[in-house]
Each structure stands twice: as C-alpha cells, then as structure tokens.
Subunit: 145 residues, 4 copies
Amino acid sequence: MNDSTDYEHISEVRVRYAETDQMGVVYHANYLVWCEIGRTDFIRALGRSYADIERDGVTLAVSDAALRFLGSARYDDRVLVHTRLEELRSRGMKFAYRLVHGDTGRTLVTATTSLIALDANGRPARLPTAVVDVLRRAATMGAES
Amino acid sequence: MNDSTDYEHISEVRVRYAETDQMGVVYHANYLVWCEIGRTDFIRALGRSYADIERDGVTLAVSDAALRFLGSARYDDRVLVHTRLEELRSRGMKFAYRLVHGDTGRTLVTATTSLIALDANGRPARLPTAVVDVLRRAATMGAES
Amino acid sequence: MNDSTDYEHISEVRVRYAETDQMGVVYHANYLVWCEIGRTDFIRALGRSYADIERDGVTLAVSDAALRFLGSARYDDRVLVHTRLEELRSRGMKFAYRLVHGDTGRTLVTATTSLIALDANGRPARLPTAVVDVLRRAATMGAES
Amino acid sequence: MNDSTDYEHISEVRVRYAETDQMGVVYHANYLVWCEIGRTDFIRALGRSYADIERDGVTLAVSDAALRFLGSARYDDRVLVHTRLEELRSRGMKFAYRLVHGDTGRTLVTATTSLIALDANGRPARLPTAVVDVLRRAATMGAES
C-alpha cells in the first residue's frame, strides 16, 4: 500500500497583507498553512472533502513537517501550491509540495508533511477505507497521465 | 446586574515577528487577539480560568467588537493591555480595553468587545453563577480600590 | 467628496483549518482579515491594486473598525465578502462589509473599517489623485446600476 | 566556527485561543511561531535583541525548518520552548528546539530551523561580528555550565 504518484493538484493562493511581515515578504510559517490548503484541495479534487473525513470520526494530524525556503513571495502575489501524494500507508500518508510564484514560475518553497490518522480519543487509527480508496485513485491517475 | 467597575487588569504581550506586516507595524487584527488575552487574564486574576468556564458547558462568543487605532506597535515592543469589565448582564458581558506602548506609555488602541454566553448547542444561555460571582468580585474590587 | 455608493464587490474565501478555533468555528479576528481581502479586491476590480497604491508612497492604515457577529462559519465553508465604499474623503475612506455564508446565504458578520492615508513617515496625507479617481468610479458605477 | 553548545534558553508561552483549531489543540503552524520566540529570547538573553540585528542592516531569514509533532498542547496550557544553538557559521546558524508541556513535562514538538543572513537587498551576507560574538558567548556558556 506504499504508493507514490505523479498526479499533482495545483491550488492558488493570493498573498494576504496579514501574511506579510516587516521584512516585506510572507512570514515563513504561513507556507505550512498553504500546504494544508494544498492537501485539502488535493483530496477534494478526488471527490472527498477533508470535512467528510472528520465526519467519519477520523482526524488527520501532522506528525512531521520539513520545509526548504528558496525564495519569497510578496503581498498580492499569486502562489501556486503543487501537491503530490508521496506515500500512502494504512495509518497515514505523506504529501510533498512545491510552492511556485504565480508570475515568475520560481520555486519558493519545497516541503513535505506526514499525517497520521487519529480516532476520536486522539489515538492512532487506520484510515477509513473510503479515504484510502480516494487516495488510491490519485495513484491510478498518476499512472495514467 | 449592570455593573461597571474601575478595577482593571494589566496583561503584557511582546510583539512577535509573525504579528508585524510589511508596513513594519503590528497587523491590526492582532489587537483583537491581544484583547482576548486581556479578558482571559482578567478572569484568571479573579480566580477562574476561561478554560474552566468552557468546562462548565458554556462558551463565550464575541458578538460585537469596536476598535480605534491611535498608534502602532513594532516588533519586539512590549504592549500593555489594560482590561476593564464595562458591563455584566445575565447572558453576557462587555469588556473595555486600552492597549498602551510599554515604553512610551502612548495609547495605541482602545477597544470594546461584547460577549454572549452560548450553551453546547450554540444557543444563548445564562452565565453560570460561578462566573457571575467571579465577575461581581471585579465590581467590588473596583469599588474598594 | 463624500460619496456613498450602492456598488459592491463580492469576494469569496474558503475557511482554512488554521482559521478555526476550538469552538469549531472561525476565530473572530479572522473576519477582519477577510474584510481586508474584500477592500483589496474592491480596489483591484476598479483597475488598481493596493500594491500600486503603496508604490505611490502612500499606505492606508485602519483607524477604526467595528464588527457585529451574527453567525459563524465552519471549516471549508465558502464565505462571500460583500464590500461597499461607504465614504470617500480627501485623506481616507470608509468601507462597509457584509460577510455571508456561501451556501445558506445567512449573514455572518457586518462590519465597517475606516482607513486613513499615511505618507512614508507615517503622517496623515492626502489620497493620491489616481486612487480618488478610481474610487469615484465606484460611486458612478453605483449610480448607474 | 562550527559551534554546538549545551547552553539552552527556556521561553514560556501560554496557548492563545486564536492558536487552537477545531481539533481542540494548537494548530501545527503555530509551533514555528513559538520557535521564533525561542530564538529571539535566546539572542536577547545573550545581550542583543533581534531588532538590534535588523538595525545593523542584516535580516535573518529561515532557510530550512523541520518539525516533529509528538504531542499536542491545548488552550491556556503553558508551553516551554527550549532553544539551543546547534550550529554557527559565517553566514548563518541553526537552532534546535524542544517544546515541552509546562505541567506534564511531556515533549510536544522537536524542531530545527536554519537561518541565513541577508543584506538590505536580500542577498546572502556575512553575520555582523557583534552577532557572532554574542552567539559565541552561548558556546562558552555551554562549555562552562
């Protein structure tokens, strides 16, 4: 069940004033928020919302995150979040991201986040079958494209 | 039960880098977050934490907020949040704030927020007696000081 | 130069996980951030970006904000930000907002923010003619529609 | 100039309501903000503020960040940020963090962030001598303690 795929979803965010800092660029922690938008959109594009998953009684908690900052976005810039499923396991998954400046095409940040499924009591749990099926679809789409 | 008091609690925050924006000053919405710290500390100083209140099955939701921005704080500045209970009703309360620069003493923001008690279903509820008693204490302290 | 208009711009935001709090709804300060998105889009729709304005050497600082919270949005909800120019003066302007749930059409928040123009030294300044012209256009559009 | 030290600085933060998410715990990106507080306090404890550094014409930009999430903090919890200088180079440095629950002593997050010095034009620069001297002091303190 260890599937890496080439399928990627692209989300677009526009830099908010609130997301800049006094250096005149996006405050670095915000990229983690955009990664969350990326994987949420990724899952939604496969036909299932993350809100659905939580209604199934499972939450996905970030267990690991790694970010490399290569460039910086500024206020009002469009940023494209390329999201890819790097790994799918019975109790979690790993997403890889590439955040790209919407106009220059320059890579601003590369990142990965690992998520683990937790039950209502906050204990590790198996991913619901519906979620696994949906994410498997990404693997197939990757193979096809 | 309409009690205004002179008692005020003073909280201190130090401006985080994340809270600045590209204008080089604190992004305005953050003052609302600091007001929340002010009223939380106000209640805690009276011997009851806001977390306690939620454990009583009641949440306090902000129903109205008004802010006047007079000056601006910068990164690493200390800001003093003066919090005062302006009104206490059976189903809510109103806090008034004065946010002051820690070094210059200049008033940066004045604000008020009204809060209403909500039960577990999100419906307006009476404030728990324990909370009312605690807040009444503020009125007494104001009268005494 | 005191122009109120009926023209309104509608922006859409989707609630981010980061914007929720433990009450399960959007943390109230985030609505101020969305208002900023609303007025930014309003200005952009008239053919001028807020980033342009800053390049003209003028920043717009929020001097007053007032919010009434009537309902709450949840994670992944679409929220429509209706923005209207309520007042235009030589040194500032006032925007009025109505934030509406994208699916139910329920009004969640009504708000106003006043902004004043500041020069590079942080002192009150006249709005650049280009900005005034652009905002006047909103008044005309309101009259025509 | 590659100095790792045992000296660590401990900062305390209290979880704000704004920092929780609908899972009822701290939203993960906030730990990066607390790491920033940790290193800022670390530098200040050595007798130099980060604001000083920026006034020297150098900014420190995060180039890499890695976080491991082991537990979660809740609203109103006290969290201790243990910050240690892991590496000091001519053009940057690396900090290591351990974020610990204030009451239970449980480790919530371990993290590292690498920072690089940038000049006013955003280009890599050498760390000002004053900064290097100050950070060297941490190495000495580690050796002594």
